[in-house]
């Protein structure tokens, strides 16, 4: 009998249609590429084995992941897992950064890192090219940095500029008269010398770089996991040094990654752990047992990186400096730069040790701008006497309390933990260079392109400070 099959009536006909769709669903779920409903769904968990686990998915962690995949000897040789606690990056230093890059440092290694990073950013669409994806627009402003020095700092600035020029940075020195000539809106009272970066310096959009790195790194096969590292399972080995002193060397075997808002965790068996956790690196280091020992010994040397809160304020000033304004860093430590076309500026100032705000949260202290930032800005640029603050935000520096420079390389006792953290405000601009250095250390065992041996962990125990003068 000819029934259309849509009516409810006939016994078995409506059921047959439902059965077919159910069978289709089951077959689809068994086929590869679909999530399997037969077994427990573990797609949110990290894999059980991974060669390298990178703790921290900010720009430094992603840069290490990228270079590990770029420098591996055979395609697919290294399995990399990036563990990031917060996929929204709400407190990560990268997204909240002002985004500046400059070569005006006093240490040659810092200058080389910044020069390489500038060439990386310039060719970012070749390094991070992904088939079928649109090219990245980093919104780079090549306006340069202008550092001002008072009488007592002028000699140090001159010798720094000499080192910078030797390394290949294009920096020019200006006297107060030349400054007034070039930038008529500056008040040169108290300024003895200024150094102006002509090329490869400026500011860009760090969020875009982060997304570009993420996209490229995912296309290269790096796995991402949203979770928190709660435990390291390690084994130790007692060895004797040449002077017959006992040394306990540790090796991390497993990383326990705990899922967000649940007790579920996954032990990831790994060969190498990279600590790129930024402001929270000290917690990760403590989990690995770094610093558990009598103070003054190598076992008792903690990782001296702590979060420090820094404020950035955005204001509007209609008669302010024009389009050519570089990022100006004043003698008092206050800095500002233009933002966009509409007479908006942003800037801030690093507080002194006594004024350090509490890093427990990212609340902004507006009185800090009134009392400690505005007077210096108004003195240096008279047009800023009439300004109106539009908004402000706060972010963390992964501040190295020892000498404000980064920590790169393996730990002497926990032999498979590598550091890439502690850059105290210039991590973003050195991320490509540091990522490559750590990847070289992991894959080849030594630094090949830029020698970052002064940045190793052992300097904290030996007390060798590498002081960087030009920290903003």
């Amino acid at each position: 009998m000819a029934h259309t099959g849509r009516t409810v009536g006939r016994l078995g006909e409506g059921d047959w249609d439902g059965k077919v769709s159910e069978i289709k669903k089951k077959i689809k779920s068994i086929l590869p590429g679909r999530s399997c409903d037969l077994l427990q769904d573990t797609s949110h968990l990290p894999p059980e084995h991974s060669d390298v686990v990178i703790v921290g998915g900010g720009v430094l962690g992603l840069s290490v992941a990228y270079w590990l995949k770029k420098l591996e000897s055979r395609r697919g040789a290294i399995r990399v897992l990036v563990v990031e606690r917060d996929h929204t990056y709400s407190q990560a230093s990268t997204g909240l950064s002002v985004g500046g890059i400059c070569q005006q440092f006093s240490l040659p290694e810092n200058i080389q890192l910044s020069l390489f990073s500038a060439s990386f950013l310039r060719n970012v669409n070749e390094y991070l090219a992904v088939v079928d994806a649109p090219p990245l627009d980093l919104r780079f402003n090549p306006s340069g940095y202008l550092l001002l020095a008072s009488e007592k700092d002028a000699a140090a600035m001159e010798s720094d500029v000499k080192v910078q020029r030797q390394e290949g940075a294009k920096v020019s020195l200006m006297s107060p008269d030349q400054l007034r000539n070039k930038f008529p809106w500056i008040n040169t009272e108290g300024v003895a010398l200024a150094s102006y970066g002509m090329e490869d310096e400026g500011w860009f959009d760090p969020w875009c770089l982060l997304q570009g790195l993420r996209r490229k790194v995912q296309s290269l096969g790096v796995l991402f996991c949203q979770g928190e590292v709660t435990r390291f399972v390690s084994s130790s080995q007692r060895m004797l040094t040449t002077d017959d002193k006992a040394v306990v060397l540790k090796r991390i075997h497993e990383v326990h990654v705990k899922m967000d808002r649940s007790l579920e965790y996954q032990p990831v068996e790994c060969a190498i752990v990279i600590n790129a956790a930024g402001a929270w690196s000290a917690q990760i280091a403590a989990l690995a047992g770094i610093g558990e020992g009598p103070p003054g010994t190598l076992q008792g040397t903690k990782l001296p990186v702590e979060p420090r809160k820094r404020y950035v304020y955005v204001w509007h000033c209609p008669q302010g400096p024009g389009l050519e304004t570089p990022l100006v860093a004043d003698t008092s430590g206050a800095y500002f730069r233009r933002e966009g076309l509409g007479s908006n500026y942003l800037g801030g100032r690093s507080p002194t040790e006594q004024e350090e705000p509490d890093p427990a949260n990212l609340e902004v202290d507006h009185d800090f701008f009134q009392d400690k930032v505005w007077p210096h800005l108004a003195l240096r640029v008279p047009a800023f006497e009439t300004l109106k603050v539009q908004s402000a935000w706060a972010g963390y520096y992964d501040y190295n309390t020892f000498d404000q420079n980064g920590v790169v390389g393996p730990h002497p006792l926990v032999v498979n933990m590598y550091f890439a953290t502690g850059f105290s405000g210039h991590g973003l601009q050195q991320a490509p260079g540091v990522g490559r250095a750590v990847a070289e250390m992991v894959l080849k065992g030594r630094f090949q392109t830029i020698d970052l041996s002064p940045f190793l962990f052992t300097r904290f125990y030996l007390g060798e400070k590498i002081q960087e003068n030009n920290i903003i």
Binding site: F140, N141, P142, M198, H316, G342, Q390
Partner: protein
Amino acid sequence: MAAPWASLRLVAPVWNGRIRGIHRLGGAVAPEGNQKKKRTILQFLTNYFYDVEALRDYLLQREMYKVHEKNRSYTWLEKQHGPYGAGAFFILKQGGAVKFRDKEWIRPDKYGHFSQEFWNFCEVPVEAVDASDCDINYEGLDNLLRLKELQSLSLQRCSHVDDWCLSRLYPLADSLQELSLAGCPRVSERGLACLHHLQNLRRLDISDLPAVSNPGLTQILVEEMLPNCEVVGVDWAEGLKSGPEEQPQDTASPVPA
């Protein structure tokens, strides 16, 4: 394999011109629908097969390598024939035109051949360069910056000239009087900000820059930055609304953004 070539061109039009080197943004030869269908099939294949993805990646890298090859620095030529000769050869090889002081313009013909007689007078400084539609990028500017007495530079419709390249032009500040950036797809207001070093500039053409977000306002700011220069290209009144909605120019109190 014709399909990867055509689709690569659509996907990344800024780098991939056609084989002859003519660069147009998305110059479509086949009808739109056909291209779209080709692209989805190719995208599907790329997502499912590593080989296709690797092949497309390789082709993309090769395109970029070709541009780099064109922009090598001619240091040996510079040693032999001096900076002006090397710079002129570079421009002519790319397809641009060169004018030595007191001489006529030297242009390559449609086959890319140009007269070799300029090697005889390569001590004469180069006065003007017309590098329109060339593939010059940041590294290639090395050769241009050697021309210390350049007075007029035209970089119209150069698809690889971006903000980084503009920040490199300051060594020509003493002599450069005329600069044209019309139609460069990658130049934005951020690159125009570093033209303030060129204090001798008398004529600047910034028309038709698609990457500039607000052409009218940018023109005003650039005019303020270079007071002695005639800035051509944008009618600054085009972005303004007329009538009572206009904000009064009140300098006493700060205007809210």
